[in-house]
Amino acid sequence: MLDTATERSAPPLCELRDMQKAFGGIRAVDHVSIDLYPGEVHGVLGHNGAGKSVLMKMLSGAYQRDGGQIFVNGEEAEINSPRDARKYNIETIYQTLALADNLDAAANLFLGRELVTRTGMLNDPLMEAETRKIMARLNPNFRRYHTPVAGLSGGQRQSVAIARAVYFNAKILIMDEPTAALGVQETQMVAELIQELKRQGIGIFLIDHDIHAVKQLCDRASVMKNGKLVGTVKVDEVTEDDLLGMIILGKKPGEAAA
């Protein structure tokens, strides 16, 4: 749980201010501002097409924003590509996992950030050793280091995608429906991981559909509808029905339907 008194005195870890993105004539994200504090899990909710994924993709550099500003640790950040986002220790676990299915776990974990030898060649043994270390922490049963990830189970693939984000010292983590494709046990594993990352002071944006999961995992939740921010609430202060009302009707708790 977020201790507001201590945490709020610091500047937000990350702030998205007045973000805008349009595709053709459709305003996918329409002047949205949200922020994230260290050790906080901030849920981002909404229907399909509400704009929550687009908002997050502007932070992760996958989309270039049309307008708005991004602040990291109080300073304006110039994020126009995934590479830029990585420089600010912003890591993303995409809903699709964004794994190259034909490569093994280590190649995926280090994709775009390969470890090389002095001669500039790929240092595969070192990358495998590092992969083994991080996987021993995240998924101790994982042993299929030489199989293309296409041959792994859903949970194993998910742990590779998570390992990629965690290995590189993420300060800000974006998780896009991390449990959508997982079984009960694996979902539990992800929930535990989120708790651990929180304790380390990592800020997490969690995109999810599942109100129940949001209530359990998040400290605050922002709801989007038709590209606009309906509102940001502390999940402890609202009921699941309030959240549903925000998602479906676009009304803030205590307000009349918009």
């Binding site: 993303t92 034909n102 490569l103 994709l111 495998e128 041959g151 189970s153």
Partner: protein, 434 residues
């Protein structure tokens, strides 16, 4: 996707049940291809009463394979990144025309470098490679940055480049080419017995050194390593294959008349009973070098990793910060350079440039890559597979010609083999889940 829970894993616990092939960590797919190649070779050998597997025919087979094989290694990268290049035969023709014109017209007539000067061949080859590189860059830019499908860009290139070559040469056959240039043609440039052995021994030493390095590095990181006997078996097979190949090429004797002329040219008299083998053709040596370089790029460099990652999942590659557009340009540039090198080999093999050089090569090259296990869906393919694919195609063609199969049937068989090879590969991949 497997249904096995993560606790039952296939690596350590079931090691005892591993087959010999698994212990040797050999690629069963590669073994299948080598097996198919051996069956083809043996079958033709029986049908031709032993004429197929003679040093002379093996020598010819290798030099006939080189041009297509060089381009097939580049086609692997193209197809792995989910593109296609229909223009390689035409690019070969235009680079060949460029090199022919540079060495017979531009250098001697315009720049005053006399015919036969040792500068001619290197300058001509460099000009061809620059043209190949530029054409590749153009294709890559059109595909990567302007997002025109590679099929269309290179179909256009197929029509454009051969005819640019035609225009450059005014449709004439240009020859004979420079003598130093011609050493890349095969029979006119071989290393001789001694140097062939030297190259063979260096190659064996290199392979064994690489194996020792790989094993050391595995052990240093505490990974399970292959049992020692398996290392020795593989090392032994590699050494015997390399040296055996050299021995076969050395066993192909230079005809006595030709030797006599060589001695006469040096003002000497050939001793009675003197023989000398051709040894490793320089063109084959070039192919081996290219194969090594391309394999290193594919397996050990960031460029290679990004090529395969982009082929496996272009979106993921972009999200990982890979510049997939520029990557496309690089891949097509490599293909352009390789087409130019193939042009050196192809034109010097026939000792002149002709307008029809490399005709239908694009299809042979694509077929070689695909028979060699490159998946058109992207992300999968190996350099050695493509070379083996080229060798299989050439063996079929030469073998059938030797047996006396009618020309139309030759192409029918090659066509069927292409389709059946891909069918077998599809079934194999479904079975193994790879």
């Amino acid at each position: 996707m497997t249904d096995t829970p993560p606790t039952t894993d296939v690596s350590e616990p079931t090691r005892l049940k591993r087959s010999v092939f698994q212990t040797l960590e050999l690629d069963t797919r590669l073994l299948g291809m080598i097996g198919a190649f051996l069956i083809i070779a043996l079958a033709f050998n029986i049908l031709t009463d032993g004429r197929f597997l003679t040093p002379r025919n093996i020598f010819n087979l290798t030099i006939q394979t080189v041009s297509v094989a060089i381009m097939a290694t580049g086609m692997v990268f193209i197809i792995v990144t989910r593109h296609i290049d229909l223009s390689v035969g035409a690019v070969l023709a235009v680079t060949s025309a460029t090199m022919a014109m540079v060495q017979t017209a531009v250098l001697p007539d315009w720049l005053g470098i006399p015919l036969g000067s040792p500068l001619i061949a290197p300058i001509a080859i460099a000009s061809g490679i620059v043209v190949g590189l530029a054409i590749g860059a153009l294709h890559g830019w059109l595909v990567g940055y302007l997002t025109i499908p590679a099929f269309i860009v290179t179909l256009g290139g197929y029509l454009v480049w051969r005819n640019v070559g035609w225009y450059l040469t005014k449709g004439q056959t240009i020859g004979p080419l420079d003598e130093n240039f011609q050493i890349f043609g095969g029979i006119n440039g071989t290393l001789g017995e001694t140097w062939s052995w030297v190259v063979g021994v260096i190659a064996v030493a290199f392979v064994l050194w690489a194996m020792v390095q790989a094993r050391r590095s595995r052990i240093a990181h505490g990974f399970p390593a292959k049992p020692l006997w398996a290392e020795f078996v593989i090392g032994g097979i590699a050494a015997v294959s390399i040296l055996g190949f050299v021995a076969i090429l050395n066993a192909y004797d230079i005809p006595t008349i030709k030797l006599k002329r060589l001695f006469e040219a040096r003002g000497e008299v050939m001793p009675e009973g003197y023989t000398a083998g051709y040894g490793l053709p320089i063109s084959v040596f070039v192919l081996i070098l290219i194969a090594v370089i391309m394999t290193v790029i594919a397996k050990r460099t960031r460029l290679g990793r990004y090529i395969f990652a982009t082929g496996g999942n272009p979106e993921a590659a972009e999200l990982a910060g890979i510049n997939t557009r520029f990557l496309t340009v690089k891949v097509f540039m490599i293909m352009g350079v390789l087409a130019a090198i193939s042009a050196v080999v192809a034109s010097s093999r026939q000792t002149f440039h002709s307008n029809d050089i490399g005709t239908l090569d694009e299809l042979r090259v694509i077929a070689a890559a695909v028979i060699g296990g490159t998946a058109l869906s992207g992300g999968l393919g190996t350099i050695h597979g493509a070379i083996l694919g080229a060798l299989i195609m050439q063996s079929l063609q030469s073998g059938m010609a030797m047996v006396g199969v009618d020309a139309p049937f030759q192409n029918i068989v090659v066509g069927l083999v292409l389709v059946i090879a891909v069918l077998i590969d599809t079934i194999y991949r479904k079975r193994t889940g790879g």
